[in-house]
């Protein structure tokens, strides 16, 4: 069983880390996971598994992570507080750790009304920051929330998301600081298109000395088409695509738009590398895992470091 | 006893049900003669007429201690006025305790054995001799004393 998170090792080692995202299937077939796993193997350090993303029912994130473990990969278990109360969340954390899952990403989750179960009761017993605290308590204190001891503490590398593009900007930095204070080890940001805004956020974070306490992985998402760009800009909350990027996508013929998306993505990574305090990248190629390999390669992020298993 | 209270400069606000024995105007005045400024008497038609606010306001403005004497249990003309008073006093005690004031500064005596107003007042005065001047009023009091001294000069 894996003793340590690959992602943690990479970061501890001082290397640029790379993670990617993998959405579980809307069905019970494990093959879908394995297929995506193979596409990402060797290209990234760890693979995020989304948790009923956009509130649409999918295979559980925990189970999918288990499948990735069995495939010898390092998964990042995404956990949203929307669907489970603190009892379920803590028990899932214990189960995950037992299965060798070392990374968790603590999230609020999209509101249930957006998905295919709009009548469901949203739980939101904890919020994402509280979940970070709970996970940290379980790991560092060896107790559940409230103080009852655990027979064995989970081993966890705790992550959280950050969105530099939502308003108000000041509050975004405050929230980042709070997540760090709560105990997060790494941050994966919302996908970056507006580099100016991102830099502004990073500057503010740096002013407070935040990057010293956490590994920030900048999120990127290759645009498949100008239509997708349009959709993401207009419909997906927290996405900020500047006009020149929109124009650039629109200025390219349809059949070459995918390629242009990858180009943009690679350029973005290159520019992000310049920003002080960025410790890696989180590539969210939504249902387009094939693109990850090319992006990583073109961004000079290969090969991924490997460590001997102890 | 009155001397003790003079030394302590304790002021008692005493509310009492008009039904308790020997509580007429004359009885009241002899008490006032005895205790001087240490007692402020407020006859009320029924102890249930008293509300926590009366007690609080008394402590806020002029009294170191506020007490209520009710008629004996079961003898209220309004049936449960004295029981209401008891509960209100209890609640008011809790309130002042919650801000760090001694609960003893508020009290209730449910009259028994037809004790006279004077006797009840004496007993209450005896009960409160150990209390220091109220921290609520002490700043004022300090000023007042200063003022008096000035006058004496």
């Amino acid at each position: 069983m894996r003793e340590m998170s690959q992602l943690k090792r990479v970061l501890d080692n001082g290397d640029m880390a790379v993670t990617a995202e993998c959405g579980p299937p809307k069905g019970a077939d494990p093959e879908a996971i394995f297929k995506k796993a193979e596409l990402l193997r060797g290209k990234v350090d760890a693979i995020n598994v989304t948790d009923n993303q956009t509130a649409i029912v999918r295979m559980s994130s925990l189970a999918a992570c288990g499948l990735l473990i069995s495939a010898g990969l390092d998964p990042v278990l995404q956990v949203v507080v929307r669907d489970r109360n603190r009892i379920a969340l803590q028990s899932d954390i214990l189960g995950a750790s037992a299965m060798g899952i070392r990374n968790i990403l603590c999230l609020s989750g999209d509101h249930q009304s957006f998905g295919n179960q709009p009548q469901a009761m949203g739980v939101f017993d904890l919020d994402s920051i509280q979940l970070i605290q709970v996970a940290k308590t379980m790991r560092d204190e060896g107790t559940v929330w409230g103080g009852d001891p655990l027979t064995k503490a989970p081993e966890l590398f705790i992550g959280a998301a950050a969105n530099p593009f939502a308003d108000p900007l000041e509050l975004r930095v405050i929230r980042l600081a709070k997540k760090i204070r709560a105990g997060t080890n790494f941050i994966q940001t919302q996908c970056v298109y507006n580099l100016d805004r991102f830099e502004q956020w990073m500057n503010m974070a740096r002013d407070r000395g935040l990057p010293e306490h956490v590994s920030i992985l900048a999120g990127v998402t290759p645009l498949k088409s100008s239509g997708m760009a349009q959709y993401m800009r207009d419909r997906v909350s927290g996405i900020d695509i500047p006009d020149e990027l929109m124009k650039r996508m629109q200025g390219v013929p349809k059949n070459r738009q995918r390629q242009e998306g990858i180009n943009i993505c690679v350029e973005t990574i290159q520019r992000l590398k310049e920003i002080q305090g960025i410790r890696g990248f989180h590539i969210m190629a939504i249902e387009w895992e094939e693109a990850v390999g090319e992006i990583v390669a073109r961004a000079d992020l290969l090969p991924r470091p490997s460590f001997d298993q102890d | 006893m009155s001397q003790t209270s003079k030394e302590n400069k304790i002021t008692l606000a005493l509310f009492y049900c008009q039904n308790i024995p020997e509580s007429g105007k004359q009885d009241r005045q002899s008490l006032e003669e005895e205790y001087g400024k240490s007692i402020r008497l407020f006859p009320i038609p029924c102890s249930g007429r008293l509300e926590p606010l009366h007690l609080l306001r008394a402590l806020e403005e002029f009294a170191d201690v506020a007490y209520v004497i009710t008629c004996p249990e079961g003898e209220c003309r309004y049936f449960d006025g004295n029981l209401r008073a008891k509960k209100r006093v209890q609640r008011t005690r809790e309130i002042i305790e919650s801000i760090g004031l001694e609960g003893e500064r508020i009290g209730i005596v449910m009259n028994k054995n037809s004790k006279s107003l004077a006797r009840q007042a004496h007993e209450i005065m005896e009960n409160i001799t150990h209390l220091r001047p109220s921290p609520v009023l002490s700043p004022h009091r300090a000023q007042q004393e200063k003022g008096e001294k000035r006058d004496n000069c």
Binding site: - | G24, E32, E33, P43, P45, H54, R57, R84, K87
Partner: protein, 465 residues
């Protein structure tokens, strides 16, 4: 008196919350907070204006309630009750009743006469002046409307000896000396009350009131200081024969009173010599056998006699006898001796309401002296705590002199109007004509005996219901 005598009154607010007969007890526990709460429907807005007066711990529910009982009768949980206010019940004593005190407060506050609806509510009759009814005229004895009508009703009296006749010089000028006659427009003289928490401003306020009313304030000589002497033309210094009397600084005072005592004659003589322009009066305690004394005083030339009963309207030497009949007998004796107009009889002690003025005059007084009413006008509760050196609950000594004056004027204004009412009803247009007019009064004892005296017989076995 050329112009009509009107006392200008103006509402003067109380300094302390008043005490009223009954208050509201409204339990809060169990209140349902009905959307249409009886408290919100109060016609008088009593609950909307609710406030707690800390000085006396008086909830405004205690004194603003007008007793309509609609809230008591409407609350679905029956959480609202009424109660008699023990503080009100404890006001005063059997003579200075809570009713008398409360109505006096009202008059001093508003300057208005007490008016109420729904008929008379008091006892059938009462002690002293309360056992008298004044007459009224119906059809055969015309009068004019006292207040709103066209005829002037005079309440003025003069103090001093009325000359039996006037003499004139050959040239037709008046030869008689009118200087020993002082007019006051109201048959009422004020006197410093026997007790009270009085301050300098209190005395000054009363002096000011006396001045504005055109009457006098009688006060102990010792109370006169530099400030008060400024009001000299409306002061009556009272000089006690027990005290040494020398150069008094009373120049310009119009009337000086000498208290009854061993030396009264010597002192009176001394005063007459020092102040030839001042009139002197003798103040006598009203005792059982006083009639003879009065007769001899008048015969010896005393022109103003002030008779003083106890503060509850009785004889000084017999608390069971009300002064009413003694005044009557003195008056009748003076009439019998043909010397009634040689003297002005003033009566004081226990006069508490406007009607007592008229009734005392009907019994034979020329005018009255009042003391405690002007103290009650200042919100006094007649608790007499001041006599035991306890603090005054309404801090009378702290009141400004202008407030004292206005309250006193208001009270007297209301009394004046009531005297007009009662005189108008009697068809009497000059208060001097009311003096001794016992025929314009009905006396309880006579009426009751005449009417019911024969209704005493009950035979054995008969049942009363």
């Amino acid at each position: 008196m050329a112009s009509k005598y009107i006392i200008d009154t103006q509402a003067v607010p109380n300094r302390f919350e008043v005490l009223t007969q009954s208050g509201i007890i409204a339990w809060e526990e169990g209140c349902l907070k009905c959307p249409v709460c009886v408290k919100k429907q109060c016609v008088y807005g009593v609950y909307d204006n609710r406030d707690l007066d800390i000085r006396q711990m008086i909830d405004s529910l205690d004194n603003q309630c007008m007793n309509c009982l609609r809230c008591v009768q409407g609350c679905p949980k029956e959480l609202i009750h009424k109660s008699i206010n023990p503080e009100y019940e404890a006001l005063g004593d059997s003579h200075w009743t809570p009713y008398v005190i409360a109505k006096s407060w009202y008059q001093a506050e508003t300057g208005k006469i007490p008016v109420s609806g729904a008929g008379y509510s008091g006892p059938f009759s009462g002690p002293g002046f309360d056992s008298m009814w004044t007459d009224m005229s119906e059809i055969v004895r015309p009068t004019r409307d006292g207040i709103h009508g066209r005829e002037y009703i005079s309440t003025g009296i003069h103090l001093g000896k009325t000359p039996r006749h006037l003499t004139f010089t050959d040239s037709g000028d008046l030869d008689s000396d009118p200087s020993f006659l002082v007019d006051i427009p109201l048959p009422i003289i004020l006197r410093i009350p026997p007790f009270g928490s009085l301050g300098k401003n209190t005395i000054k306020g009363w002096a000011l009131a006396a001045k504005k009313l055109g009457t006098f304030l009688a006060l102990p000589y010792e109370m006169i200081d530099e400030e008060i002497i400024a009001f000299k033309e409306c002061l009556i210094p009272s000089i006690s024969p027990a005290q040494p009397y020398g150069d008094d600084g009373l120049g310009g005072v119009r009337l000086i009173e000498v208290l009854w005592g061993k030396n009264w004659k010597a002192i009176t003589r001394q005063i007459t010599e020092t102040h030839p322009s001042a009139m002197t009066a003798i103040r006598l305690p009203l005792v059982g056998g006083i009639k003879e004394t009065v007769l001899s005083l008048v015969n010896s030339g005393v022109s103003i006699i002030s008779l003083e009963g106890t503060s509850n309207g009785r004889l000084v030497d017999d608390n069971s006898v009300f002064m009413r009949d003694t005044i009557r007998s003195i008056h009748l004796a003076l009439v019998e001796h043909g010397i009634r107009d040689e003297v002005t009889l003033l009566v004081g002690g226990g006069l508490s309401m406007a009607e007592h003025v008229a009734k005392a005059i009907i019994c034979g007084a020329d005018g009255v002296v009042i003391d405690l009413p002007i103290l009650i006008a200042l919100e006094c509760r007649m608790c007499r705590r001041c006599t035991k050196e306890l603090p005054c609950p309404v801090e009378i000594d702290q009141a400004a002199s202008s407030w004292v004056a206005s309250r006193t004027i208001n009270l007297l204004g209301a009394w004046h109007n009531q005297i007009l009412e009662i005189m108008g009803a009697m068809g009497i247009r000059d208060v001097r004509r009311l003096r001794g007019e016992a025929g314009r009064a009905m006396f309880f004892e006579d009426l009751d005996r005449n009417t019911f005296g024969s209704l005493g017989e009950v035979q054995e076995g008969y049942e009363l219901e």
